[in-house]
Every structure is written in C-alpha cells, then in structure tokens.
C-alpha cells in the first residue's frame, strides 16, 4: 500500500506560524481526514495572525528555517474581528523590507486556510515544501550570523583597514 517515497538530497525546514481558530483547526482536519503531506513542516500556534511579530520570521530564518508559512483566517472570518487584517497590512510592508534586504520572497508564503479546509492546508504545505526544496537551503541568514560572531576578531583585514584609515 505504501508507495516508495523518493529520497531527496535536501529536506528543507519549513516553519508555519498559524492561528488557532482557522489554520490550526484546518491542519487538525487534514489529520482527522488522514491526508498525507511532507513532514518538513513544524507548526507554531498563535491565538491570531495578529499576534505574529515579523521578528519571529527573522528569528526563524536565523535558526535555519528554509521556508516560512504564515496562515490565518480568511478575510472577514477572524475570530478576533480584525486581527488578520492587521496581520495582512503588517506583512505587506514586511515583505517589501525582506525583498529590500535580499530575501527571496518565494521562501515565504502567506495564505488563508479556514477550519474547514484540510485539503487546502495540505496543498499549501506541499507546494511550499516542494518550491523551497527546489530552491535549496537558505544560507544568507546563517552566513550573517556566522559573520557576526567571527567579526569579533580584531585581525579582520576589513577592520584593520578601517582602523588604519582612522
């Protein structure tokens, strides 16, 4: 019954920031309906997408996430009246910032998945996983973190140049 799964060289780490009321419940429904999807995704539950701070996305990239999904209730369906609208505006601005600093926006997916859309959850997660797998690992942030630690070294030629100039 189990079909042979193709082995990939690279398995991306996908982090999903979801709201309790719609997308988390939708993911639960995918479970109760026994749908199948890649196991790369890790779900973090929030009361509302309005609670999701863009800093968490940066933090996740820093911690080695290769792709990020933010998903909540459809417009108009927010359990907290308007949290998803605030989130939508916040992330519209945040996307521009990410693009400016050079993050490939294909690594981030914003979507609406309702509590009744188990199938859509599977679709969104599968698409994102495959897309990010094709893109390869996200190294930009890891490099930055490494550089930050390494730059403590005073023998750094760049720093030396700066000192000399002073």
């Amino acid at each position: 019954m189990h079909s042979e799964k193709p082995k990939h060289d690279f398995e991306p780490k996908i982090i999903a920031f979801v709201c309790t009321w719609c997308t988390y419940a939708g993911a639960d429904l995918a479970g109760t309906s026994r749908m199948q999807y890649p196991s790369n995704v890790r779900v973090l539950k929030f009361p509302c997408t309005g609670r999701i701070d863009p800093v968490f996305i940066l933090k996740a990239f820093q911690q080695g996430a290769d792709g990020i999904l933010v998903s909540g209730c459809h417009p108009g369906d927010c359990h907290y009246i308007a949290g998803n609208y605030h989130a939508r505006r916040r992330f519209a601005v945040f996307r521009k910032l990410l693009e400016f600093i050079g993050v490939d926006l294909n690594r981030i997916q914003f979507s609406w998945v309702s509590a009744a859309e188990g199938g859509k959850w599977v679709e969104v997660v599968t698409d994102l996983t495959e897309r990010v797998r094709a893109m390869g690992p996200m190294v930009e942030f890891k490099d930055l973190v490494l550089e930050e630690q390494w730059s403590g070294n005073l023998n750094n030629p760049e720093l030396q140049a700066v000192y000399e100039a002073m």
Partner: protein, 665 residues
Amino acid sequence: MSRIGVFICHCGENISRTVDVEQVAAQAALMPGVAFAVDYKYMCSDPGQNLVKNAITEHRLTHVVVAACSPRMHERTFRKAVEQAGLNPFLCEMANIREHCSWVHEDREEATDKAIEIVGMLVERVKKNRVLPTITVPVTKRALVIGGGIAGIQAALDIADAGHQVVLVEREPSIGGHMAQLSETFPTLDCSQCIMTPKMVDVANHPNITLHTYSEIEQVDGYIGNFQITVRKKARSVDEHKCTGCGVCMTKCPQKKIPNSFDCNLGTRTAIYVPFPQAVPNVPVIDRENCTMFKSGKCGVCQKACGPGAVDFEQQDQLIVEPVGAIVVSTGFELYRITEKTKGSPIKGYGEFGHGKIPDVIDGMTFERLASASGPTGGKIQRPSDGKEPKQVVFIQCVGSRSREKGISYCSKVCCMYTAKHTMLYHHKVHDGQAYVFFMDARVPGKSYDEFWRRAIEDEEAVYIRGMVSRLYQKGDKIVVMGSDISVGVQVEIEADLVVLATAVQPQKGADLLAQKLGISYDKYNFYSEAHAKLRPVECATAGIYLAGACQGPKDIPDTVSQASAAAAKVMTLFAKDKLEREPIVARVKESGCVGCFACKKVCAYGAIEEKEIRDRQGNLVKVVAYVNPGVCAGCGTCQATCPSKSVELDGYTDEQIVAMIEAL
C-alpha cells in the same frame, strides 16, 4: 531549575502505528530540563491521567508536556488533571503528534523524528510558561436565540421554562420558520400546523421571552457571559402595541396581487400583510417595496381603516441593545432554487431540467404548500400552470445533493422521507393518480422511518425507480421525463402532469455574514461548524455560542428539536454559576517600558485598552501608559505584535515562549 514531565500517548494505535513512541520517550528523557518521560497507551483515560498526577508528586515535576492529540481536543482534560495534582494548569502544554504527525505521515522514521522535534519545541516552550491565575467574570443570565423556526422556538422555550430571560430574534415578520409551511410531517403524518402553532403561541405568551420579529442582528460585541447584541428592528410601519390583529387593513389594501413567498409564490397577498393567518405575532407589516403609499405617496387606505390607529408610515428602523450571556444560533436552511443561480452558489444549475422554466416543475416546499389545508389551494393538489388535478406525478430526488460534479457533495438527509410522505399525501388526495419516484438510494434511517418508506411503496402504490433523470421537456400540457431504471437496465419515459424536485438543503442566505458577526466558523457550504463532530456537537468553537437545527447541517424535525433542547441545556449549565472562569490568556502592559503611544489602542478591536495616569507621591503626572482591561481583552495579541517598545505581553503567548520554540528547531 525546571523538572519537566513528558507524557507520550499511543492513542491506542493511532500514534504508535507510525511514531515510535518508545524512542520519543527515550529522546525526551535526554532533553535538558526533563526529569521524567514515559509513554502510555491511552493518556487521556483515567489510569493515564492518574499516571500524570502521580508522576507530578513522585518526581516533583514543575511543568508537564503531554504529547498526544490536538490541544483543541484534550488540552482542557490534561490541564484539569495537572491542576488536581497541585500544579497551575497553565504549566501544562500539549504537543500535537497525532493530527499534525502520525495521521499525516506514513514514513515511520520521518514521523518519529518529527514527533521528537515537536516534543522538543514544547519542552522549551513550557519552561517559559508562567503561573496564570484564572480570571472570573460575571455571567449575564439572559440568552439570545437567533432564528424563530422550530429549533429556535424549542431552545427559547426550554431556557425560558428554566427561569431565565430569553431574547428571540426572527428575520421574518412571524416566527414559525419552515415547519409552519409544511403540510403534514413524517413519519406520523401529524399536521405540522397543529403541533407547531401552540408552541408559537407559547413563545408569544411566555413571561420570560422577549420576541423581536422582523429584526436582524446588527452587531455582536463581548464574550461568553457578557455579550452586547445590537438588534435592528426593521420598520414594520405598524405599531405592535396598538395593533389588535383585526386584519381590516389587509382587506382594504388595494395592492392584492403580490406573490406570497410563504406559499412559495403560489398565492397572493396584499402590501400590508401577515405571512399566514396563524402568524405570531399577529401584527401585519407593510412591504414598502410594493405599497402604493411608499411608491407614490398617495393611498393610506389602511391607515384610514385602522381603528386603533396602529399604521405608522413614518416608523423608522430601531436599534435595540440587548445584554446576554449566551447565544443559540438556529437560523435554519433554505432549499436550493432551480430557477435562480445565486451568486457564489456551489450548484452549477440544472439545464437538463430547463432551469425551472417549466411552470409545472416545482420543488418539495411548493408541494407542501399545495398539500397544506391552509395553503393557496386549500389542500387540493392542483398544477400551478392551469389548476388541473395532476394524474401522473414524478418525484425526482437528489436534485443538487450528492452530486459532486455539480457542486454539493453532501446528502440533504430529509428528502427521501419527505418524498415518501409526498407520494402518500398525493395518493390520499388523488385516488386515481400515480406517483413515480426517481431515486439513487433510499436513505431512511430513524425510528419508524424505514417502515414509513416501505408503506409508501407497499400500501400507497408509489412506484420507485432506481435511477436518475437525464432530461425534462414540455410536450403539449405534459412534461416528458426521460430517465433510466438501473435495476432492470432500461430507459424510462414518463409523461407527467407535475414534477416535484427534492432540491438540496442549503444554509440560509447570509449565514456567512452572521457567522462573521458572531465570530464562529463555517464550512465551504456556509453550514456552521461545531466544536467537535462527535463530542461537542452543539457548541461552537467560540465560547458561549451554541448551534441548533439545520444551520449546522441538514436535519429533520426530531433531530432539530433534540439539538435545540441540548443547546438549551448547555445554556442552562452556563447559567447555573454566578461567576464564570475564563482562560487568563489576556494582554498585560509593562508600564516601565510603555511610552504611551497607544498604537495598541488603535489596533484593539475590543476597546480593551485604556489610558492610565501614573502619578508620583505629590500627585504630579509622571506619564500616561496603556492599561488592558482583563475583562474585555479577548487575547488575540495584536497589540503585542504592534507595540514598538515591546511593552505589552499576551500571557500564554509571550515573546519568550515563542522564541524558545523557534530556537528549539
């Protein structure tokens, strides 16, 4: 130093089939801060819960992680267990390794790795959990019931009989809903009016029920125990207190040819009207679209005729605010209309049935009105086109329902039974007539239901043909029905005088808009979603809101009444306490950091954020900071993500907790 206990559930085989639970337990035991890790077959069972409780005392645990099903399922169960063992319930977290892991992955190795990671995340999170005291809020012991069909009536009466105040809001001018339209009801063939109208009168006369008909829900504020409902009472143009219900206005009204929607447009009514003679309240309403006075400014005949002077053309819509503690939603259903393709409807339309262009193709509700003693024909079965008595009637089931390619995949549940009933009613009234039924399956489970359906065939001579109809067309004054009989494998052609379609049961128009006001979830067909399909079938995921009747899914009268009484019982349970414990997931302001920009106030949808002055000992104003009213805060956390100085924190979802989870990856 935290001493965390990790409890991994097998869930029978649901988790252990794909996740190596023993390995998860072994790995969890190695995680920093974990003092104890164990797996067990059914963690939610009594011995399972005892295992958690004993471990807390025995191993002096400070935090607990239960790796099992979704927290939406059993978080409350385990938090209660932890509380009984003397820990604060919010020091317990659940790792979802069933819905989000074992059920959605097949590869054992992958699923086990994922489960370990999920547990690891929750272990890091729970370390940062803080003791949260439960918040108690007062309960307003008044209930709101939305929709005055049989579901709403039953729920309202039950709650009112228990001694609580009930506000019943109905969109139409009269309560009664669809049940008031029915002729006789299966499986006993009781006259619907005879069992319905006494209940309607009970509602009107009950001292504990406030009835708002011709009214709609405008706005919903607040939360469980403390809702504020704004009801729009539409202008009736008739003063309810002055009107005596004599009906003179209706006899005088010059506009007499308006199709009566209560009779499925078979009969006519006047512009000032009551939908049906037994209406409750028996107060007419002026249909402003069709009234000569409102159209041309000249007429006013009804006003002159009205003895008590109740007709008031100047009346305006009224907004009434009702404080309530619980809400029962019972907005019911409507039948899919073959004649109109509504915008956004999942049903693609029935071209092969002429999209309802043939006048003698009617739906089930129209047949009910034809068969009803109080209907437009006085209970005589007559064709809408020429008033002739039909001698051959074809009933077609599953029109719209159970047809994935046309859009609706669910079964409308009541059609098999009401079609069997229709064939009987028809046979009782037209002795020399013949009824044919095209059906896919007969779905007649229920007490005395199968017997009823068999009676239609065996005693009442209905001919059941298993198969679907491919085409209908008019030929002279007959309708040719072309179908197939798959039991014998032949094509069937019947020349019918009347065709009755059992069209799909759908939620009421605007069901989604109401759900958005209430903050409850609904499925892709706009049926409202219950909190749990089996164990919490009458509660919404939103606390304090309950469901009754066909707004949740197609239901017959016995099921609707049962659910309405169940919803009423839930409301009474809520009202049994004076104070209500609510989750302490609310935002708190760190006053030292707050700069008083009030960006939080702008984004708070609940108006929970107030301005608070901080003064020194001499009474000089030091600064103005934000303050969150914990009674009003709903706990969405939008303020926290907005705060530029990170001075507001949502308990239970603090930055610390979330960052800890991200860092555990």
